[in-house]
Each structure stands twice: as C-alpha cells, then as structure tokens.
C-alpha cells in the first residue's frame, strides 16, 4: 500500500514539476498505456499488481482524466480476501460508477458475498460502497437485505451503524424501493441500544423515515424522550467516550431533538412531562457557568440548546417555554460570539411567527436594528433583515421599513434586491396610510432603482389605480420626484404612467400645469430605453385626452421625424397610430378610448411570488407552474381587452388603436415573461372583478333597526342570541329547527347541489289561535342581492292553530357572498301585531363540492396559495369538548372532503373542496390543528380569494 502510494505520488509530483499541460498528458498517456498492456498481458497479474494499477488508475481519474478501462480488474479485487485489495476495489467502484449491466451484476454479487460474510470489516466496506454509490440499481438489489442486517441480533455495532445510514441513503434516493415492514418496530427499539453510535445512526434513519411515515414510527417518541432524558440528566462523566468537552452526547441529543420535531407534543401526559422537564433542564444549563473555557464546550452545549429551542418553537404549545426560549435567544443576540448571534437571529425568525411569542420577539427590535447597523458580517446582517421582516406588524411597520430603507443605502449588492422586495411587501401589507406607501416605494426607487424589479413598480401602479384616495397625492409626489436632474428610469416609468392617468388632479396648480408636466416627462424621454419611451408615448396620448389645450404640442412631438421615422418598429407604430388617433377621433371617442384605467382585480401580489422565488429552490417548481397558469390566462383573456374598447364601435382602422389606447402597457410590454405575467392583470376578468363586500355586515343582524323590530312581547335580546346560535348550527347541517318561541316554530329542510339549492321552510303555529295576515318575506340586503338569487312563493296568509304551512325557496349562488339573507315574518296573533326576523342559514359553504386529493397534491396546492391575502387563520378556544370524531363529522358536514393521512400530524384535520358559484369556482383548502392541552384550535383557510377564505374561516370557527 505504502509503495503504491509512493509511486502514485511520483506520478502526481512528476506532473507538478512538469508544469506544462502537454507534459502532464504525455506522462499520463504513457502510464495508461503501460497499465493497459499489463492488464492485457498474457501473464495473470497477482493481487498486489492488480491493486497497484487499479490504484494508479484511480489517481489518474482524480487528476481529471477519463478512465475507460480497469473496471473488470477492480471488480476482481472485490472478491479478494485481502483487506487492502478489497478496499481499493471498492474505492474504485464507488468513484467510477459504471452503468454496464454485466459489471453491475458482478459488483452486486461481490457485495452480496461480503454482506453475508459475517466479517464486520468486509460488511463495512460493502455497506460504505452501497451508501456512496446510492444508485437506484443499488437500492433495487439491497433495499430488502439491509433492514435484515440492521435488526439482526448478532450484528456488530459498527456494522449496525453503517447499515442504518446505508438504508437512510437508499431511502433518500429511492423511497419507493425501501419496503416498510416488521423491521420498522425493531429499528425503533434501537433507540434503546447500549451503543450510543448505533443510537445516533438509528435516530438519523428514523427521523427521515418518520417524516414520510409518521404512523409507523409513532412509538419512537416516547423512546426518544426517555433516551434524551437519560442523557440530559446524567452527570457528564456517565457517558464516558460520548462526552464531548463536558457535554454529554451532544450529537445524539441534537438528533433526538430533531426526531421529536417530526411529531406534535406527546399526548401521554407522563411522556410530555418528562420532555418538558428535559427542555427546562437544557434551558437551565444554559444559565450555569461553563465547565470549560474552551469554545468547543460552549459550541456543543449551544448546539443542544438551539435544537431544544427549535423543538419548543415547533410544538408551539407551552407559552412558558416559548417565552424562556425567546429570552435566551435575546441574550444570544448580544453575545460576543458571532456564530451565536447568527443562529439566534435565525431561530427568532421562526419564533416570530408563533402567536404566543410574537410580542416577546418584538421587544428585541432595537437590538436587531442595531445588529443591522453595526454587524460586520454580511451573513449576520442578512439574518437581521429576515428577522425584521418576520417580526413586522402594523405596530412597528413604519419603523422597520424606515430602518430597512436606511440600511439599503449601504447594503451589500448581493442582498439589495431581496431587501427591496421585502420593503415593498411590508409597505403594502401594513400601509394604513397609502401616502406613506407611495412615499416608501418612490424612496425605494430613488435609493436602489437598479434593484427595483418590474414587479415592484407594477404593483405601486396597481395600488394607486385601485385606491382613489391616494391618486392625487401620488401624482403630486411623482411630479416632484421627477424634478430631480437625474432620476432613475423606473421612476420615469411610474411617473409617466401615473401622470398619464391622474395628471389632471394636479393640473390646477400653475406649477404643475399640463404643459409643465408634459415638458418634464419629455425632458427624460431621450435618456430612456425603448420600453420606457413606448410607455411615455402612451402617456402623451392620454394627455391629449386629459389636456386638450396641449394637444397641438403633443401632436408636434409625435409628428417629429425622430418619432414617425424611428428605427424601432414599436415606437414608430405607436407614434403613427397615436398621431392618427388624435387627429381623426372625436373628443367623445377619445374620452372613451383613453378613459382612466379600470381598477385591477385583487390578485396575489407578484412581488411576493418573486421573493419566494429568490428564497428557495424548493418553491421554484411551484412558481413555474403559476407562471404557466398565468401565461395561459393571458392567452385566454386577450380578447375581452377592456370594457372601453368594446363600448366603442368605430370602424376598423381605429379598432386596432383602441387596444393600444385603452391599455398603454400592453404593446409596450418589454420582452421578459415576468412582465407579461403581470400585465395579465390589466385584462383578465376585469369584468368579473368583485365589488368589495361590506366588511362585518353579516354580523350586524342585531343592528339597532332590526333589533327593535324583534319579537314584540318577549325578551328581544334573548331571542336574537338564540337565533344566532341556531343559525350556526345550520352551517354544518341542512335540516332542523331554526327558530322557536311560544307562538311559532320554524323548521328547515334544504338541499344543495353545485351552485343551486332548494330550501323548505315549515312554519308551525304552536298556539290554538289562528295567525292572520301571515307574511314571511326573505330579504337580501343590497350587498347580497347581486350574489344570491332567491325565489319564494307567497304562503297562505292564514295559519290555523296547531297547523303547519310550508314555503319553498329556490336558491342560486351567483358569486361568493358574506352575509346571510334575513327571513322576516309578520302576522297578527290575537290582537297584537307580531314582527320577527331571523337569519336564514344560507351560507357560502353550502355550495361546496368535496374534492379528494393526495397528500402531495394537497401540499402542492397549499403552497401555491401562500400569499398572505389568500390565507386566513384563526386561533380560538374550543367551545365544545374536543372529540376527533365529532370534528370529522363537522368538517364533512361543512361540505369539504375530509382528507385522511394527508397531514403529517395525525391529530390535525385537513379538508379540500370547491365552492361553486355561477360565475366562478373557488378551490378551498382548510387545515384545523387542535391543541388538546390548551383547549385551543388553529384554523387555517387558503383559497384563491381573500373574501372567501375570510368568510369560510368565520363560519367554521364557530363550529368547534
């Protein structure tokens, strides 16, 4: 071996001195020829020579040269009985993987023999080779065999360790080929093994397996907890070899804590108590004086501590532990060790999203801002930005955004774009005052214009167009910003667009008269790129409509040679067409064609999508799909262009222009696809844009006017309350008693299918006296009317004592809705006039069609709907006993499909369905996470429409 080494070194260093590439290749080729002749020679080589030459080949390969022979000799070495020969053989096979099937058969055979050899060294080599290659072929050949070795009673510890990791490797490459079976329960029991190395390897294996098969490995939780507890509470000398700088078995502790993060908090109170005790001990130890000054000691200790904190955050159930964790991280934020500051910022990010600790995290805001300013390491500053983003809410948004903007001026180039996206998202999400939003984005463009992607400036325009309260301010601000002698092209784009739409709002001020606005924009024209110029041309034609007084000036500009004869086809076409349009179209037509843009339909912020894309390769596939969807959207909706276009019926030459005029951006669309995806917003279903629903209006059944017209004689307040509770009962069922008092009982029977439904209302007279002038009316409020079509037939005005009358309501759901219709009943009983109102339980969820889907599908869709606006979450106290079966029945009654074995945590419930309305179908995903100990639920709804998520969440939250 040593000899071989030496000769190899000679090759290497011979080349090192040779300097020139040719000399190296010459030397190598000579050596290769020599080896080839030896292998082909008549004389059979002995094991030693074979090994020597195979080893040389290996080194030549590692130097970067192709090796196309020697595989057979290497395979021969595998069957040698000498360790050194076998080892080189395996090394060669691992490094130079070959797909020749005949060879693979031979290799597999050799590996099989070694696995069966009962020689731990040989078994170890074979397992290493399988793990290093880790190919599908290897998995096919050995995935059945290795579990047996792993759980066999007589396997040596070191082999068990290798077998566990080998199996893990095969499971990672080809999970479908590793059969679950009896061995799984025996693997779990390896957590009790004497040998801590075995336990560590087994824990790694179980952690990965449990993520996919939580049920199968559930028993590992209690075993892991007791193992952890034994380690944590032991004196540091108990574990001898596995004590590392006075910390007992830190790696194993970390692995066990990771394993526990695959599961919810243990249900068994004893196990749970023991785990809590462990976590507390770990937190306590952090406060003890260090047992060694060495950095290794604190490293190992903190590795365990951070993992414990991760587990606490994962469980998210013990407020006490969460707050302690937060305080501990707070200490680390100011630690002199950079690594700890880095990790503390990272962990706090996840902590910030927990309901229980969000407030506690917020208290560290000053420290984090300080880190952003003073930290010397860009990695740490990056974490600080992430944390600020995570801890941001309405209360501190202004401060955080200001700090981020500040930091942006000096930030590293590598992270600028991400900060820009984050600032843009926070500014939009937490804007109370939209003038602040506009200021922030303009500042963003000023400070880091190059890093402001198209998504960002598109978004600011969408928002300005959709919110008329900010339009004047926006026009004024961009006008002022454009005064700067050098301003970023993105600002010119935003300015051009906004002034083109809303320049009239500031034209009254002589300092920003139409002509001044135009001259200001046109002064930037020549410095801009083609897409921006195209946009400015559209602005000019909009000006023609907004400010007829400068029409001739604009026409002159359009008529100039530099426009009409521009080398760029797009610009030339625009100039020609706009000029023509301005000359031939009447004022009325111009006004219609160039009317203000209609509001954009509320859509996912494309900035968020962009940020997600930047953040991880894991989400990229999702995004690509979204993109695909969008581009198909675009094709599909190209023709309904816009309302204005169809309103005009001018003959053909201008029809072409109309498209341009109505939507200046379409044709200017700069080539990259990202722009296309956004512009879709301009067109797609703008017609179906839903009028904003009056928030909270569904709950004001008890609003004064109605309440006063409540049942006359009886305690009105009580009735309202009862009725409300009864109303909620109907959310998950279709039949039952809706209302009852001493006089009258109202029963319901209903059925729903897709977006249609029929409801039978039964009015029972409980008295022995006739009701006269009995008139039930179903009332839809103004907001509700367009969304819900209800048809009823009048009933007989006389209801005899003890009799029952029936009324049919035909229901059609046109679009999603929030409120419930109201059933008003008036009649005369005896001498008194009775008037009462109840909410009729026609709720959005009635139009649910359940959808079955696999776990993979579910989570893929779940990810696609990850915009904060699509998600609505509610955390609430349980009002009824927390029974899983009842919960299931309610979710099914709610109308969605109950998806079993989808959530990795079996205690959680997930559902999926589609809301059918006449105009659209809305996919809905829901997830309900019960927390038995706290008697709380967390309900998360994700749908493509915010209002729908919101409404469904309200309705369902009342049920548990």
């Amino acid at each position: 071996m040593i000899q071989t080494e030496a000769s190899c070194c000679r090759i290497i260093f011979g080349m090192g001195k040779g300097k020139s590439k040719e000399a190296e290749i010459k030397r190598i080729n000579k050596e290769l020829a020599n080896i080839r002749s030896k292998f082909k020679g008549d004389k059979a080589l002995d094991g030693y020579s074979k090994k020597k030459y195979v080893c040389k080949l290996l080194f030549i390969f590692l130097l970067g040269h192709d090796i196309d022979f020697g595989h057979m000799e290497a395979v021969n070495l595998l069957s040698s009985n000498r360790y050194t020969e076998k080892q080189i053989g395996y090394l060669f096979i691992s490094v130079l993987v070959n797909s020749n099937s005949e060879l693979i058969r031979l290799i597999n055979n050799a590996i099989k023999n070694d696995l069966a050899s009962r020689n731990p060294t040989f078994m170890g080599l074979a397992l290493h080779c399988i793990a290093n290659v880790g190919s599908r072929e290897m998995a096919e050949a050995f995935a059945g065999e290795i579990p047996k070795i792993l759980v066999a009673g007589d396997t040596m510890d070191s082999v068990k360790q290798s077998a566990a990791l080998c199996l893990l490797r095969l499971y990672r490459t080809s999970p479908d080929l590793v059969p679950m079976g009896d061995w799984t329960s025996r693997v779990v029991h390896l957590l009790n093994d004497q040998h801590l190395g075995v336990v560590t390897a087994a824990t790694s294996l179980i952690t990965t397996l449990a993520q996919k098969n939580p049920e199968e490995f559930k028993t590992s939780v209690s075993l892991a907890v007791s193992r952890l507890s034994r380690i944590v509470t032991s004196a540091s000398t108990d574990l001898q070899d596995y004590t590392y700088y006075f910390v007992p078995a830190p790696w194993l502790s970390v692995k066990l804590l990771r394993l526990l993060q695959c599961y919810p908090p243990p249900e068994d109170p004893a196990v749970r108590g023991r785990l809590t005790e462990c976590l507390e001990t770990i937190l306590n130890k952090a406060q003890e004086p260090p047992k060694s000054k060495k950095v290794q000691h604190s490293n190992a200790k903190n590795a365990v501590l951070f993992e414990a904190i991760s587990l606490i955050i994962h469980h998210d159930s013990e407020p006490n532990l969460l707050v302690r964790a937060c305080n501990q991280l707070g200490q680390f934020l100011q630690h002199r060790e950079t690594n700890l500051r880095y990790l503390a910022l990272e962990s706090m990010c996840t902590l910030a999203s927990s309901e229980f600790s969000h407030e506690a995290v917020k208290t560290h805001i000053e420290t984090v801002i300080n880190a952003l300013k003073t930290e010397r390491d860009v990695s740490v500053r990056q974490r600080a930005v992430d944390l600020l983003y995570a801890m941001c809410d309405r209360s501190n948004a202004q401060q955080i955004v200001a700090e981020m903007l500040n930091y942006l001026e000096t930030a590293d180039y590598s992270i600028r774009e991400e900060i820009v996206l984050k600032v843009a998202i926070l500014a939009e999400k937490y804007a109370v005052d939209y003038t602040w939003y506009v200021d922030t984005i303009l500042n963003l463009i000023r400070i880091a214009g190059d890093y402001v992607s198209e998504e960002v400036w598109y978004r600011v325009i969408q928002i300005v167009i959709n919110r008329d309260d900010v339009q004047g301010y926006a026009a004024k601000t961009v006008f002022e910003a454009l005064q700067a002698p050098a301003c970023h092209e993105n600002l010119v784009k935003v300015g051009g667009y906004i002034l083109g739409e809303f320049g009239n709002l500031i034209a009254g001020d002589p300092r920003s008269s139409p002509l001044i606005q135009f001259n200001l924009l046109h002064s930037k024209f020549h410095l801009c790129s083609v897409p921006t110029r195209a946009l400015l041309l559209s602005t000019y034609i909009k000006f023609v409509n907004l400010f007829p007084e400068i029409k001739t000036t604009i026409q002159d500009v359009l008529r100039s040679d530099s426009q009409l004869k521009n080398a760029d086809v797009e610009l030339q076409q625009r100039a020609v067409e706009y000029l023509r349009l301005s000359t031939i179209a009447s004022t009325d037509i111009l006004a219609t064609v160039l009317e203000e843009m209609p509001p954009f339909p509320e859509r996912e912020s494309s900035i968020l999508a962009k940020l997600k894309k930047k953040k991880g390769p894991g989400t990229v596939t999702d995004l690509e799909e979204i993109k695909k969807e969008r581009s198909s959207d675009m094709n599909g909706s190209a023709e309904p262009a816009s309302v204005n276009a169809s309103a005009v019926s001018t003959p053909s030459p201008s029809a072409d222009l109309l498209g341009l005029g109505a939507a200046p951006l379409t044709n200017s669309a700069p080539p990259p696809s990202s722009s296309g995806s956004l512009l879709v917003d301009v067109f797609s279903d703008s017609a179906s844009a839903v009028a904003p629903l009056a928030p909270g209006s569904d709950d004001n059944f008890a609003s004064p006017d109605l309440a006063s017209s409540e049942v006359v004689s009886e305690e009105p307040a009580d009735t309202v309350h009862d009725a409300d509770e009864l109303f909620h009962k109907f959310v998950c069922k279709n039949n039952g008693v809706l209302f009852e008092n001493q006089l009258l009982q109202i029963g319901l029977k209903s059925e729903f299918r897709q977006n249609l439904g029929r409801m039978f209302i039964f009015y029972g007279n409980k008295t022995s006296t006739q009701f006269l002038n009995f008139t039930p009316t179903v009332i839809c409020s103004d907001d509700l009317q367009p969304s819900l079509n209800l048809q009823t037939k009048p009933v007989d005005p006389t209801v005899d004592g003890g009799a029952q009358v029936q009324q049919v309501v035909n229901i059609e759901c046109v679009s999603d809705f929030m409120e419930a219709p109201i059933l008003n009943i008036q009649f005369r009983y005896g001498g008194t006039f009775q008037n009462l109102s109840v909410k009729l339980p026609i709720t959005l969820n009635k139009f649910f069609q359940p959808t079955e889907m696999s776990s993979q599908d579910f989570f893929q869709r779940w990810k696609q709907l990850s915009n904060p606006k699509q998600e609505v979450q509610n955390i609430f106290k349980a009002k009824h006993p927390m029974d899983a079966e009842i919960t299931k029945a309610k979710i099914i009654g709610f109308g969605s499909a109950l998806l079993e074995e989808v959530d990795p945590n079996p205690a959680n419930f997930v559902g999926a369905g589609i809301i059918h309305t006449k105009t659209t179908q809305i996919g809905c995903l829901l997830r309900l996470e019960p927390n038995l100990q706290a008697q709380m639920y967390r309900l998360t709804l994700r749908t493509s429409k915010e209002a729908v998520s919101q409404r469904l969440c309200e309705l369902l939250s009342e049920q548990f």
Partner: protein
C-alpha cells in the same frame, strides 16, 4: 448532508452525493468556496449561505480555520450548524491523533488515510460516528490489517 471537504493550500473535493461531478465543476466549486471563505475576517461567523454551485440556499457552507488550513463542510438544513463545527473539530483532533501532530504535509502525502478517517466519520454524506476513540480504534484496526497484509505480500516479492 453532503460534505465537501477542502484544505488550503492543497485542496480536495470529495463528492458525497454519489453522482460523479465533472472535474470542471469540482474545480469551480473549490475555487469559489476558497474565494468565499479565505477573504472572510477572523471574527465573523462560520456559516455561509449557499451559492448556486453548492445546491442553492438550502445548503450552507460551514468552515473552520486552523492556521493555514481551512476545513469546509457543505451541509443541508437537516444538520445542526454548531454540531457540524464540532464535527470538524473532532475530525481535526482525530487527524492529530492518527498522525501525531498533524501538519499540512501529512494531509498531502497521506490522502488515502485522511480519506479513510473521514469515511469513518461521514458515510454517503451522513454523520456516521462522532466519538473520537471509536474512530481511532477503527483506523488502528485498519492499519493493523494493512500492515499484516503488507508483510505477507512482501515476502513473495522478495522471492521474485
């Protein structure tokens, strides 16, 4: 976890993903990693966000600096950062034990041994053993086997 191990000035890249990475990519990874790591100050943190070369942002470079040597591991999110720092320390301490006062030259001339030691700790990219005594025992056993075999085959050689 994939482990990329790199020593400066002499560098070696052991691809633990099982897929042979082309020589060019390997060299590029090493160059870029070295570039990233070597220009960092002493008291900044030991973790580096992954670039595209090492498989995107899920992966991190974790390194330790000993005199003229850098030890760099590339790990995914399933590993504890501080744990890996300690693992590097164990690796170095083990090298020190096996070579008695390890220095750069040991690593250059005994690449195979370094590889064997690493193989006892990391297997197919996963942490196999962290206990130094256990590792040293295994390595000693291997050395013994090697020596005995060297002895056996040297006798026939002398006959030749």
């Amino acid at each position: 976890c994939g482990a990329t191990c790199l020593h400066a000035p002499w560098q070696r890249c052991w691809n633990e993903e099982g897929v042979p990475v082309s020589e060019d990519t390997q060299q590029q990874i090493i160059r870029e990693t070295f570039h990233l790591v070597s220009k960092r100050d002493e008291n900044v943190c030991n973790f580096l966000e992954g670039g595209l070369l090492i498989g995107g942002s899920d992966n991190k470079l974790i390194y330790r600096h000993y005199a003229t040597l850098y030890f760099v591991f590339c790990v995914d999110s399933s590993e504890s950062e501080l744990g890996i720092l300690d693992l590097i320390q164990v690796f170095v301490e083990t090298l020190d034990k096996c070579f008695e006062n390890v220095c750069e030259l040991d690593l250059i001339f005994h690449v195979d041994k370094v590889h064997n030691i690493l193989a006892e700790m990391v297997m197919g990219g996963m942490v196999l053993e962290t206990n130094m005594n256990e590792i040293v025992t295994q390595i000693d056993a291997q050395n013994k086997l090697e020596k005995s075999e060297t002895f056996i085959f040297q006798s026939p050689r002398q006959d030749r």
